[in-house]
């Protein structure tokens, strides 16, 4: 972009008043998100310090029970608090699932993105479109598609039995395997796309220079390509990790209500659990985890910027 020509003082003043008028154009969008996006989050914060009403909703009485219930359970008889790790374990499991999903997505997504970035430009566009389509396709439908395939009477078991490799179906649905598979399948494009946009900008003359200096392909990959695409790797990992941690549809359909993740746990408190304050507290604890991940990312990005 070329620099604007020097403006006369009068023109500059006109510019400035137009700019001042223009900033109000952001008003409607900001108002809608603030009123219907941020205010609800504040309500959740308030709800997490209230007592549950018997049929859902809240009673306007201050209470820290929601947070206590997260770690402890009140003994029915003695009213003493006992440590109860049930919720904590679900958070821990969600964390482990999200980490495993992120690692698998990275292991398969990085070579894919690299391959895409080294295609001729016209081919690249088609690859991007092919990865983008699942990204924007209905998550519920895609998850159901996985369910149909891995069910006891699904295509995989039918094929294996048809070939005589197994006598009775291998149970895959409603297992941890099913959930991680579903998460991987849901969020793979979230890894490939940022990696691709980072690798696409890579200066391949550096790769040539490394080859000229007798680096092997493996050395080029580990010492040049991967360090230079670190911002894309971090962004991709975050874009997979955050939605995987709070996933709701995947465990709902592929976990079958027995292998809970944080998302289902929260939804349960607002549904059959009828404990809105507990659900609110659980949601805020999830938010806190997400904010920590984002904060680590922003801090790293700032540090990387200083080095670069």
């Amino acid at each position: 972009m070329s620099a604007p020509p020097p403006a006369s003082p009068r023109e500059r003043q006109a510019d400035r008043s137009a700019a001042r008028r223009n900033r109000w154009l952001a008003g409607p969008a900001v108002t809608i998100v603030a009123l219907f996006g941020i205010v609800p989050l504040l309500i959740v914060l308030v709800y997490s310090f209230l007592a549950p009403a018997p049929y859902g909703g809240v009673q306007w009485k201050f209470s820290t029970d929601a947070y206590l219930n997260f770690l402890f359970q009140r003994d029915i008889f003695s009213d003493a608090l006992e440590f109860s790790p049930a919720f904590l374990l679900i958070y821990l499991r969600s964390f482990v699932f999200a980490v495993i999903t992120t690692l698998i997505c990275l292991a398969l997504g990085f070579p894919t993105a690299y391959f895409m970035a080294t295609r001729p430009p016209e081919q690249r566009n088609w690859w991007v479109l092919l990865i983008t389509i699942p990204f924007w396709s209905n998550l519920l439908v895609r998850t159901l598609a996985i369910m149909f395939i891995i069910r006891d009477e699904g295509l995989i078991n039918m094929a294996l039995m048809g070939l005589g490799l197994i006598d009775k179906p291998i149970t895959m649905l409603y297992t941890n395997f099913a959930i991680v598979l579903g998460l991987f399948y849901s969020f793979l494009p979230f890894m490939v796309l940022p990696l691709y946009s980072s690798l696409e900008k890579l200066d391949f003359r550096l790769v040539e220079a490394a080859h000229d200096l007798y680096a092997t392909r493996r050395q080029v990959l580990w010492r040049i390509v991967i360090p230079m695409s670190a911002p894309g790797i971090v962004a991709g990992c975050l874009l997979v990790f955050i939605p995987a941690l709070g996933a709701y549809v995947t465990p709902l359909i592929l976990g079958g209500g027995t292998h809970l993740m944080i998302g289902d746990l929260i939804a349960q408190q607002f549904g059959s659990g009828r404990n809105w304050p507990l659900g609110s507290a659980q949601a805020l604890i999830l938010m806190a985890a997400v904010l920590v991940a984002l904060w680590v990312y922003v801090r790293n990005a700032a540090k990387g910027g200083k080095h670069g």
Partner: protein
């Protein structure tokens, strides 16, 4: 030294195979679902022959009609509001000198992308429950339109802003130099140039609203079934290939909108 290829230095061994594997993993489940949607049999995983029977069954279903109507009303309303407000916001936030609060406004608009969907869902549910309980207000399907508009705004905003940032300022300056008043400059120069961004923003807003399940499921009141909710309700009964037919329709709509939006963006760039 043997592994140093003579020609293409960029190539890493095996990466192409991984890329094809990823494509296969992404598309095989969708394609299988689509193939089974034209199965004539009534058992969902047992192939009997090609037929459009289940599409007919789906299209004849009154519940499907009302779900499709709800989905379109919500998606179109949310898309129109989100695209309009996001376009205004993008203009107010790129064609100006940095103003105090610009960073904050940017964060607010992008907030829905950072909050996990399930948290947005229960927060919106709590909000409307409170509004209904304390103020006695219930907007009916308007609740869903509002909820969808909120998360559509950042999706509409991103491509419009990107387009405005890529645009060459000199054309607008030329118009101004030729004594075009600001409104005319905007109407004749800025607006036509930014339209591809507006179109792709609109397409993305429509798709995310059309496909939303999590937030809709928690916020929807009785009778406010959308197509994703309709599919979900079907999975809780003995399943027939009708669910594959409806799922295929949803997938095809996403594919068409996304492809069209990508092609428009690409042609305008060239």
């Amino acid at each position: 030294m043997a592994e140093r290829g003579p020609l293409d230095l960029k190539t890493q061994p095996g990466f192409g195979k991984v890329a094809l594997l990823c494509l296969f993993l992404l598309y095989a489940p969708i394609l299988i679902l689509m193939i089974f949607s034209v199965n004539s049999g009534s058992i969902i995983t047992h192939w009997e022959g090609v037929s459009l029977h289940w599409y007919g069954a789906a299209l004849a279903d009154d519940d499907f009609h009302s779900a499709a109507r709800n989905t379109m009303v919500i998606a179109i309303s949310a898309t129109v509001i989100a695209t309009l407000t996001a376009t205004l916001a993008a203009i107010g936030m790129t064609r100006v000198k940095p103003w105090r609060g610009l960073g904050a406004a940017f964060m607010v608009i992008n907030l829905p992308l950072m909050v996990p969907e399930i948290v947005t869902a229960i927060a919106t549910l709590s909000f409307f429950a409170l509004v209904a309980g304390k103020l006695g207000l219930n907007f009916g399907i308007g609740n869903l339109i509002i909820a969808h508009t909120v998360f559509c705004i950042p999706f509409a905003y991103m491509p419009i802003r990107a387009r405005l940032e890529d645009m060459d300022l000199t054309l607008e300056q030329a118009a101004a130099d030729l004594y075009a008043p600001p409104w005319q400059t905007f109407r004749r120069v800025t607006l036509p140039l930014m339209m591809p961004g507006v179109f792709s923003g609109m397409a993305l807003a429509f798709i995310v609203s059309f496909d939303d399940f999590t937030i809709t499921q928690l916020v929807a009141g009785p009778g406010q079934t959308t197509l994703p909710l309709y599919i979900w309700n079907q999975t809780r009964r003995p399943m027939t290939p009708e669910i594959n037919a409806i799922s295929t329709i949803l997938l095809l709509i996403s594919i068409i909108v996304v492809t069209a939006s990508a092609l428009i963006a690409r042609r305008r760039k060239a």
